[in-house]
Symmetry: C2
Subunit: 304 residues, 2 copies
Amino acid sequence: MQQVTINEVGLRDGLQMHRSIVPVEDKLRLAQAFVDAGLRAVEATSFVSPKAVPQMADAAELVAGLPDVESVDYSVLVPNQKGLTRALAAGARAVNLVLSATDTMNEKNIGLSLSETRATCVATIQEARANGVEANAYIAVAFDCPYEGRVEPPVVAELTNEMVEAGAGRVIIADTIGAADPVKVRSLFEILLRRHSPDIFACHYHDTRAFALCNVWESLQAGVMRFDSSVGGLGGCPFSPGASGNLATEDLVLFLHQCGYETGVSLDGVLECVKLAREVSGRELGGRSMAYLTAKRERENGQH
Amino acid sequence: MQQVTINEVGLRDGLQMHRSIVPVEDKLRLAQAFVDAGLRAVEATSFVSPKAVPQMADAAELVAGLPDVESVDYSVLVPNQKGLTRALAAGARAVNLVLSATDTMNEKNIGLSLSETRATCVATIQEARANGVEANAYIAVAFDCPYEGRVEPPVVAELTNEMVEAGAGRVIIADTIGAADPVKVRSLFEILLRRHSPDIFACHYHDTRAFALCNVWESLQAGVMRFDSSVGGLGGCPFSPGASGNLATEDLVLFLHQCGYETGVSLDGVLECVKLAREVSGRELGGRSMAYLTAKRERENGQH
């Protein structure tokens, strides 16, 4: 069976906009639950300015407390060299940079132009690599930008080339606002794969329009074998709780397993993560398949 | 742009299991809303035994009262020649037969073996055609049967061949329990298209596991250009209201339009249908994209 890696981003993308501060102990309980569920990759936190994102002020403490499991590929987000310095000091093994594909998005997000952000990402990736740390780049708003509209594939291809040349080991194509569809996914990868192997890509889809699994499927057709998701869909929910945030890990696992891919993840374990994430976040979480999964679990437990 | 036909099945598949009897006047208001929304195909009712399904006892009255619009392709379900006789008397233009792909499903559903059901369908299709009426065949549980498990593609292919030879104009591949995935869809159509044009097929997906749009996408790749759906996902909801019934028409329309297909359907019109269907059924309806669509509509109305 073909192996697909799921990168659990609930602790970072899932929590970064969360209103109340989740105690580091609770975050570490979640991290342990991820490991117990068999998740092989976890984006654990972000070394952004604690003033800008107080939720992530505990980044160093969190990294120090992560379950010490060799088989889990932990990464942390860093916005720039300052963040990298903190991440390195905390002992991070891999760092992820974020480069939005449009001027306006970078300006709104971090107050830099696109070219300034590119330079920041290149310098940070190079410094990470010089320190023996893996560096990856998110290309955010890789399909549509909420300010500038459609982002054309050649723009994403150029940014990809630049990040790879700088030393990024992986490029994560991020549909930040959940606007992608399989037609856009296909046309983007047609261009990206002219120059790169699908192995260097991961995809990060939001399920705003309920197209995320379609986009995963089309990405699999392009040969992409790594996807971000968050348990229960934890994360940016611009419209309604639990309905439009990150692609939910349980939906992704159910889908991949049914389609014949191996992930190493236990669906029951993910449901335990969702339960814990609900408790920790105080939010009604759950992917699109949650009603089905819950009924299935009850049926199976009833039969035993 | 390529045209896709959406066959609205809310009045039949959507209502057949509905607890309280919906008055025929309300059903006709829904039919008018479907026409107003631009839906080009409507499965209006079922000429089953009124004793077995009291909800459909008004079938003749409903057919007589349907909006007289030349451009709408109305059809009705008939279980056998007795139902056909009633449908013909009511003036139905097209009839749909249901053939489940397994013995047990036919027995549980209508008390006949698979071979008896095949014979019934063949005879009814032939009689419909002899009366100048279009006849189509649903192949139910075409992917998985709740009693017998996986249904292999050659079984569906054989049933398809038999129905087409009997005179069925169209074969509707129905994932009755929402167990299909794009891998199964692909392998089924690989076999079906060896002998038939994709034009003769339609697909009927249930969204139980949230894979319905993936299955639509994969069916489109096979060349299928006609899909069943129901407004708000109205219909068999084995697990939770609004979450696991028929693929919702609003999800399908949003998806098809974004992927560049033309349907003739107005998304705003469909949202009006959902509102009316909620009122008429007393149920909390809405597809997976409802939160997004509602927020989008509010934003657009606010901007005007």
